[in-house]
Symmetry: C2
Subunit: 168 residues, 2 copies
């Protein structure tokens, strides 16, 4: 936050059911897919807010051994009707993701409704996400349909909350 | 950048033709549309990189008078074939944008190829963007087709580069 950005105001009441996600999460994950060798990664995942009826969502990963930047994604999580959530994300590999699903307690379940790809993007056709928070631990898994393959497990990670969530 | 994120490496050669956009840009804009009263806004627009073949793109605006957060968008700008660019963005109003276009000198011209909307998003169907950099000044305009209207001018702004661009 620079001096040109005002201090964040109080949490918008519509995002209180999602406030368990707020914070900076760091940890490790592993990935595989039928077409790639399994790999390990470090992750930083930040969920924040600006006082409006959405949360910001920003994720980056690095190779655990070589520290090379791997994936990233950035976008917004929106409350829908009670119990429903919407996620809009851009990925640097040329993909936009529009997912919808449910929030139940501290579990988020999302299924892509649209995956858009630029002319030079890899062919990803579907993404399924599950996130669960238990205290200051976040676990997630992501399944993907890509490059002509049926949906298969792709990523799973366990992250720890580094900073306290903003008080709702 | 936190201590868990490595320092950014040198600029990837594929994004050198886009490096004129790098930096933090701040300034003012005005907006209108057939369905809304005209309005003024302050903006902060950040373009950065992580050493890979894309730039990060992050924009926020605030009401000039009331400092209320207005729009935001976040995503990635990717070089395509020589002279072509791809932009993938998420907007907190529930929209994902996939735009493609050209870069010529320090002028970027982009037309949406896909605008995806969540169940509760406003009906936006097309976006046309033009950005031009002249030294440390960036001017852009954005036209939009939305809520059943044909495309019309929506936003125009002039921003100044606050920090030097990273040396290519």
């Amino acid at each position: 936050m620079t001096e040109t950005a005002p201090k964040p105001p109080p949490l918008h009441p519509d995002v209180v059911p999602l406030s368990f996600l707020l914070g900076t999460w760091v940890g490790h994950g592993e990935g595989d897919y039928p077409t790639v060798a399994s790999f390990h990664y470090d992750e930083q995942f930040e969920v924040s807010h600006v006082g409006k009826a959405f949360l910001t969502w920003s994720q980056r990963t690095w190779g655990t051994e070589d520290r090379r930047p791997l994936h990233a994604e950035t976008g917004y999580l929106r409350p829908g009707p009670p119990g429903h959530v919407e996620l809009v994300l851009a990925h640097p590999n040329g993909i936009v993701e529009l997912s919808e699903g449910t929030v139940s307690g501290k579990v988020l379940s999302l299924q892509s409704r649209l995956v858009g790809r630029t002319s030079t993007a890899k062919e990803v056709t579907a993404l399924t996400r599950r996130l669960e928070v238990d205290g200051d631990e976040l676990r997630y898994s992501l399944a993907m349909a890509a490059v002509g393959r049926a949906q298969a497990d792709h990523l799973r990670a366990t992250l720890q909350r580094k900073t306290e969530a903003a008080a709702p």
